[in-house]
Amino acid sequence: MKKKEDMNGLGNVLGGTFVWGLLIGLLSLGTVHGQLYMDREGVVVFEASEKLFEPVKARNGSVSVLFDPSDNSLASLALMRGFRFENSLMQEHFNENYIESDLYPRARFKGILMDFDLDLADRTTREYVLEGSLEIRGVEKEIQPRVKVQKIGNILSIQGSITLLPKDFKIEIPKIVENKIAKEVVVKFDFKLRGDEGH
């Protein structure tokens, strides 16, 4: 009887080792292929200024970005209330009238950094297409901005810009300020994503 228990014990230990081995194997695979790059302080600046009028410009320096080199997927999120304007009245109008930040508190992007290979990335700046969908005010739009990518140590820098139209996101500009706000909004982004470990 005692022997049987011992045998069971051995079986458990062996089984345990097997499971642990599998787990460790999976985890190490994870670190090789699934190392994430993250930026918690990504910068997004948008500008819709018209010449001769007061600049319509805002900056958000707390945009989050996640990049997974295993499938080149990139996800980003910006809180609309995080955009800061020089003119606080403009900021209020942006949140209350144009974006309706209480209803749509965030902008999201999900996409793929096309043809990118992390192993080939270095200090040399190369251009890629970041293809994906941008969601603002609950409206999704497919975008394909060209981005400049550079890797210095374990920092992956992704910079680019896109031109958006307010009407694409059902943002109505009242007639009275129509001349003061550009028809096209230029959105620039600058992400410095940090990898978990140095390469």
Partner: protein
């Protein structure tokens, strides 16, 4: 007669200047001073991040002035993370004497909940030293 005209010109001038000042005040209001505003919510960092992560709408806290306490889990530049769930961008730099593990209370504007990194974001944060009314 000349004296009266001068007086009127002076009054008109003052009225004009006042109107311009008023218009300027209306078009360019002073930015919010979060540190001077009344606190609307007081709670621990865990309570805030716990509640906001469950909320479908963030209107309750977004753009409101909050007083939050908790242990510092990370310091990065002018940012402090409290209890791994609340990230505060300080109005000025982080007090150089502060270290990870210290318990602090801050007053800040709640920007919203970032579901990508699962963190509540605060900005214009100021340190409230020796706050005991927890």
């Amino acid at each position: 007669m000349k004296g009266i005209e001068k007086k009127w010109a002076l009054v008109l001038g003052i009225v004009l200047v006042l109107m311009v000042l008023l218009a300027h005040r209306l078009l360019y209001p002073a930015p919010r001073d979060i540190a001077a505003e009344q606190v609307e919510f007081r709670m621990s960092a865990q309570a805030l991040s716990g509640e906001m992560s469950q909320m479908t709408s963030t209107t309750k806290y977004a753009d409101r002035v909050v007083l939050i306490w908790g242990r510092i889990s990370e310091i990065r530049g002018s940012r402090m993370v409290l209890e791994d769930g609340v990230e505060a961008l300080m109005l000025d730099s982080v007090e150089p004497t502060l270290e990870v593990g210290d318990s602090v209370t801050i007053k800040a504007r709640c920007v919203g909940y970032d579901e990508l990194l699962e963190v509540v974001r605060l900005d214009q944060a100021t340190l409230i030293p020796n706050y005991t009314d927890r």
